[in-house]
Amino acid sequence: MAHPSFLGSPAARASCLDLWKEKNDRLVRQAKVAQDSGLSPRRQQLVQDTLEGLRELLHTLHGLPAAVPVLPLELTVTCNFIILKVSLAQGFTEDQAQDIQRGLERVLETQEQLGPRLEQGIRKLWESVLHASSLLLELLPVLHHLAGLQAALWLSTDCLEDLTLLLQTLNGNQNGTSKDLLLLLKTWNPPALESDAPLTLQDARGLRDVLLTAFAYRQGLQELISGSLPRALSSLHEAASGLCPRPLLVQVYTALGSCLRKMGNPQRALLYLIAALKGGSSYGPPLLEASRLYRQLGDTAAELESLELLVKALSATHTSEVPQLIIEVELLLPQPDPASPLYCGTQSQAKHLLASRCLQMGRAEDAAEHYLDLLALLLDGSDPRFCPPPCPPGPCMPEVFLEAAAALIQAGRAQDALTVCEELLTRTSSLLPKISQLWGDARKGTKKLPSCPLWVSAVYLLQGWAWVQLRTPKEAISKFSRCLELLFWAIPEDKEQGTASKCEQGCRSDVALQQLRAAALISRGLEWAASGQDTKALQDFLLSVQMCPGNRDASFHLLQTLRRLDRRDEATAVCWRLQAQTQLPQEETTWSLPLYLEIYLSWIHSPDCETLLEEFQTSLLEPHDL
């Protein structure tokens, strides 16, 4: 029943307006004080109070009918509220979209054209508001401010089409203007605020600069990942030349380095990486990128050195920085995903990378040491910050054990390798099928066979080779046999078995299973041959050739055994087949194999295979000629 306006005279209205403006300015100053007072509960309280104050003020203003003289203040308060809320929550939510929409509706209310437009989307709302504001010049600066926030929201939610349209309208909406967002952002020139305007936490120009950098970097990174390198280079240059906080600059420089490396400019790439490292704050990504660069250049020493540095860099505890109470570039960037060249993972992942690279590059002693360090850290549990390499990108934990064992065997430390294998088996014993029951069922041969993870067989394989190295053929043969038994039962199943560890899926490829079987058969055959039981050896080699016809080592060992047994015809057939295989382009079979298996296969590979083959061929041909 009260009359709508209690502000009878213009004088009261003006003084109220001043009062509210004063309150807004006080709250903004309070937020700035909080900003400077470091991270503490008091600061958090202060910021919360400021936010509440802004919310209250906004409620007061919304309680009155929208009026043009009050709107600049009201929209400024809205902007301040959104900025503080977003910087506190470190991200945009649906609430902010609603706040912006509310502001726009209030503008339209003064134009008395709200009715039918309520149903329209926010895009149409902006169109109407900007159309109306051409009549209301005093609203233009604050509308640009609000538009900056809308742009940030759309950039963070990837609504680039809407963003382009908005910027086109803001820039004067000439038809046929460029659709290039970067250009649009550059040409956008928000009008300057008047000196007596209410204070803001971050003005429209500041927002524009942040948007420009964030967009350039996002685009550059996307282009880098999708492979359009020259365009990525120019976008990233744009990002680096803009307003760029130091941690971000490190990322931009690293991305530039990655881009130049892929473009075949290693020297320039190196310059950028060095610049990134000088930038401080986060050393991880540039060091990882440097290791890739050296790997491409073939400089193994430098590559491993940068990986070692990477491990050290990642072990340093990162201090969480105090977030600024404005919208920062980082807020508008997507989370780095593993596909990004800037994803450097955790310390343990880096350590694993270092160890596996050492193993691949033939530095077995170093590799063994690194693997032992890694296992100690993982199993010790004293440092909670140390995390295992997660499954999907890297190998699963049992595979890390197997790689460690392989590295130890490679380094000539068979006893240690046996210990590692034993540790793996005891720790997972509860998960394995009940072996005793398994034997019984196998003898009866009636029941369904249990499925057994591949890595369990691989443990026995490596144990066998360790015994070979320790010159204990009996043990070795028994381990190889156990491995083979498990392998022949382990039929690769496509469907995931219950809740069993899903990391096995990576290893349970057909190729790996075949190669494992061949490797086990060859290893056992070699042991038989060494102990003079050539018939048994022949049997194993024959099986391995059947199992894996493409495996040249299997055929070669078969050939040698046949020659030793003096079975010339069969040997000749094998020989021809081998030769035919040599003519064919060598298949890349090892690409999908686990690292430990690759290393293992190198052990049973005879280096002098080619020469022996030629020698045999000549010896075969001689009798024919005669």
Binding site: Q44, G381, P384, R385, P390, L431, K434, S451, E504
Partner: protein, 877 residues
């Protein structure tokens, strides 16, 4: 089990709000002789079981949602809603609190209320909903804007840096935010449940299973659920039950993330199951009989390695998972879902194979051990070690327990539960594990027996009072509904005759400091024998007509709703509303005032549908109210009254002798101007422009002619010796506030003031119309309206025509025959008018399309045509 007679002892009572405590938030846990308890309010109580008294009460700045005790460190971690996690040191209670402001106002309490110092907040975060604390780690679950977020911190201690080092974080799953006030977080109905599972013998220290928190699972089940990696690393695993029913797990040692390597939910979070109802409890049981090694080594109860994981949902769905081996020797999970009576308020398990769960009606116990239930005869060959196919809950006859925990202090062979009831009573309940044989009743046991019976009676009476309240409320709602129904029938059926409830509207001018305001007074009268009670509202809608000057603007409507709070038979209520004029002096007449009665179903029925018992399903309330939309109710129209110009006229010149003529304040005008105006009154000579206008611009005039015969018949009873002209005037002004003054004099013309302040002159005289009727001249009365404002003239004319129409309709109903008319003449007039109307239409159309300059001319022409239309060429007969 059913033979277990529980022995209940009440320990203490705690303050609880009207209607009992709310489920979901209270916690109770026990360490040695101390009981730590929160009731969902801002207090945490420490109760000493040996001394039987409260030793301390801590007051937090907000509701307490969760407690956890880290016994080896003597630290109590408390989650305070919207604040964060606080840490209290139990050794030196004074260190964590500021001594200075020990409450003085609570002086009457026997124990000190200690306000917790803000510095005790070790992890400030307003979005936290759950946490669990391990020896060196703190795991929290925060409610993000759209997702649940699990965070891992190094365990913060008191007096350390307020921002503990964050080790990792991962987002769990999306959830639909609770509808509430946007921007304002609402208190969640159900809190998520977190607990930590570890491997036996792992180095990660655990083994303080106080309340919910941590437990140990045997290797096979652990590996099966969480995979080979977690088993190899011997990593603790965090199990998380969400209010949407999702049960997921996160391997703790894998949860190390940083800004450059954020947690990938796909790699880190594994969803174990979906209960499809809020998860209330996660626990672990030992279902297989204690192996001999446990017996021989006398393992303390906390080192039991559980072999069964259970999760319990709010509506009673329970999931149990065990590990077993299939025929070929593979390790496979055995899942079994059970349905327990719900809604479940809380649950607990204490190392054995039993799980205790509480519903509003009862505290029940179920046993998942083998052989605890008779085996299903259909499945005699069940594999040993399997889960029972069905469960039979055994009642413990304790109702409305909100939180329960298993006390470790129970003597051998017994289980002791600590429970908090909805009435805020803390009690212990002892159960013997074995069915006691018949024993001779000794004096002591008789004593105990009586005590038990008494406490049982206490329980039942608590329950009865709840139910009684609910029944009362529902009865009241039904009575109210019945009465509303009767009233509606009476009102809607009696179209003729006096209505039991009536509403009459009158208008009058009232003086306000700055301007006079026309007010409408609605009088709601109850003349029937019903009484209007709670739930009824009087809705008055004031609808202004559209302004004639603005072609497109629709009239505005203002609605007022006034709750009718008990209007008994014979009583009445008066409501006065301002009609205008507004600040700008505009009063768009005619104004229509419609009154209606509205009966809100939501208000009356909503209260009864809402469970009076807070322990009942909180969802029920929402659902029932959802059935009643916001606007649902009964609407009974009462009256409709049109306020026109004739009712709003004021006659300053007609003041009755005893009342001083009130000087009229023209609306919205400056008091100074008014003053000057009154000063100028003595000089009757209009000066300057006004006089010129008066001279050369005659005021617009409109008139209506009515046959005298018709008027005479209509006004027959009211006339009684008064000349027809003045009777007509009285009739026209019958609803005006000044009607009495008019009646006192015999007037045939009157000068009034319109709400906008312009003068309106009503002149009534008798005329003779000659050329209309072949029978001869007709005696008629001409009513002339004259005003300097065209708009006001139109409004007055409109009002008069309205009266005439009403009168003619009334007379026609009485079947009076009109005299013969000259049809030709009438037709001519009709044709003329049709032409004019067509022109009006054309002009109005043009007005819409034309620009300003030419529209002026059009408007001019339009006015002329209107004037012609209004010209008195016709007599009402």
């Amino acid at each position: 089990m059913a033979g277990d007679a529980p022995r209940v002892h009440y320990l203490a009572g705690f303050s609880c709000p009207l209607g009992g405590l709310e489920a979901g938030k209270p916690r109770v846990l026990c360490h040695e002789a101390e009981v730590f308890l929160s009731t969902g309010s801002e207090f945490v109580y420490v109760y000493d079981q040996e001394g039987g008294l409260l030793t301390a009460v801590y007051r937090f700045p907000g509701q307490v949602w969760h407690l956890q005790l880290l016994a080896p460190h003597r630290a109590l971690y408390v989650l305070c809603a919207r604040r964060g996690i606080y840490c209290l040191s139990l050794d030196t209670p004074s260190r964590s609190v500021s001594q200075a402001n020990k409450d003085s106002e609570d002086g009457e309490l026997p124990y000190p209320v200690i306000p917790v110092d803000p510095d005790a907040c070790v992890l400030p975060d307003a979005t936290l909903c759950a946490f669990t604390v391990l020896d060196d780690m703190l795991v929290t679950l925060a409610q993000g804007p759209t997702q649940w977020k699990m965070q891992l911190f190094e365990r913060p201690c008191l007096g350390e840096d307020p921002q503990p080092g964050q080790v990792g974080e991962v987002e769990l799953s999306t959830y639909t935010p609770h509808p509430g006030i946007p921007g304002k977080p609402t208190a969640p109905c159900f809190l998520p449940v977190l607990c930590c599972v570890s491997l036996p013998g792992s180095r990660a220290p655990h083994g303080h299973p106080q309340g919910r928190g941590t437990f140990t699972l045997e290797e096979a089940l652990f590996g099966l659920l969480f995979g080979a990696d977690a088993t190899l690393l011997e990593s603790p695993v965090i199990l998380c039950g969400l209010p949407d029913g999702q049960l997921s797990c996160v391997v703790l040692r894998a949860l190390v993330t940083s800004r450059s390597a954020p947690g990938n939910p796909k790699a880190l979070v594994r969803i174990l199951h979906h209960l499809e109802e809020p998860v209330i409890f996660i626990g672990a049981l030992k279902t297989e009989p204690q192996a001999e090694e446990a017996v021989e080594s006398e393992l303390p109860s906390e080192e039991v390695h559980s072999d069964c994981l259970v999760a319990l949902g709010h509506d009673g769905r329970m999931l149990a998972i065990k590990a077993s081996w299939d025929e070929s020797g593979n390790l496979v999970p055995e899942l079994q879902e059970y349905c327990l009576p719900g809604p479940v308020l809380c649950a607990a398990c204490g190392g054995g194979s039993r799980i205790y769960h509480s519903t509003p009606l009862d505290l029940c116990v179920v046993d998942l051990a083998q052989g605890s239930t008779p085996l299903d005869p259909q499945q005699p060959n069940r594999a040993p070690g399997g889960l029972p196919p069905t469960l039979c809950p055994a009642s413990l006859s304790i109702c409305s327990v909100l939180t329960v925990s298993v006390s470790p202090r129970a003597p051998a062979g017994e289980t002791m539960l600590l429970a908090l009831s909805a009435k805020g009573r803390l009690m212990t309940c002892s159960l013997s594990c074995k069915t006691p044989g018949p024993t001779r009743m000794t004096a002591a046991s008789a004593d105990r027996k009586i005590k038990e019976l008494l406490s049982g009676i206490g329980d039942v009476s608590e329950r009865v009072s709840f139910l009684k309240k609910a029944v009362d409320q529902r009865n009241k709602a039904l009575t109210s509904l019945n009465e509303a129904m009767n009233l509606s029938c009476a009102l809607l059926s009696s179209r003729q005759g006096p209505r039991p409830i009536s509403c009459t509207t009158t208008t009058s001018w009232s003086r306000l400091p700055l301007q006079d305001v026309l007010t409408a007074t609605c009088l709601l009268e109850n003349s029937g024998d019903f009484s209007l009670d709670r739930g009824w509202t009087l809705c008055i809608q004031v609808l202004t007509s559209s302004s004639a000057l603005d072609l497109d603007a629709a009239g505005s409507a203002v609605s007022y709703t006034i709750p009718v709070d008990r209007l008994g038979p014979g009583s009445q209520r008066e409501v006065t509303l301002p009609l205008g004029p507004t600040e700008s002096g505009v009063l768009d007449l005619p104004v229509t005032v419609s009154c209606a009665l509205f009966y809100s179903l939501r208000e009356v029925v909503g209260g009864a549908l809402a469970p009076s018992d807070p322990l009942e399903d909180p969802f029920l309330e929402e659902h029932a109210l959802d059935l009643l939309p916001e606007q649902e109710g009964i609407c009974l129209p009462l009256s409709r009254h049109t306020v026109d110009m004739l009712q709003c006229l004021r006659f300053p010149g007609l003041a009755s002798p005893h009342a001083q003529a009130p000087s009229l304040l023209s609306p919205a005008c400056d008091p100074v101007d008014t003053f000057l105006e009154t000063c100028r009154v003595p000089s009757r000579e209009p000066a300057g422009l006004a006089s010129l206008r008066a001279k050369y611009l005659p005021p617009p005039v409109a008139s209506v002619q009515v046959s005298a015969e018709l008027l005479r018949m209509a006004l027959e009873d009211a006339r009684s010796g008064v000349p027809l002209c003045s009777a007509t005037l009285r009739w026209l002004l019958a609803e005006n506030a000044a009607v009495d003054t008019v009646k006192a004099q015999t007037l045939s013309s009157i000068q009034g003031v319109a709400p906008s302040g312009t003068d309106i002159h009503l002149i009534i005289h008798e005329v003779t119309v000659t050329d209309l009727c072949p029978a001869g001249p007709i005696q008629a009365v001409e009513i002339q309206v004259e005003s300097s404002s065209l708009a006001d003239m139109c409004r007055a004319h409109h009002a008069i025509v309205g009266r005439m129409q009403a009168m003619v309709r009334e007379q026609a109903a009485q079947n009076s025959s009109p005299p013969d008319l000259r049809m030709q003449y009438l037709r001519q007039i009709h044709a003329n008018h049709e032409v004019l109307l067509r022109e009006v239409q054309a002009l109005r159309d043009r007005l819409c399309t034309e620009d300003e300059a030419s529209s002026c001319a059009t408007a001019q022409r339009l006015l002329q045509v209107y004037k012609q239309l209004r010209s008195p060429s016709l007599v009402l007969l």
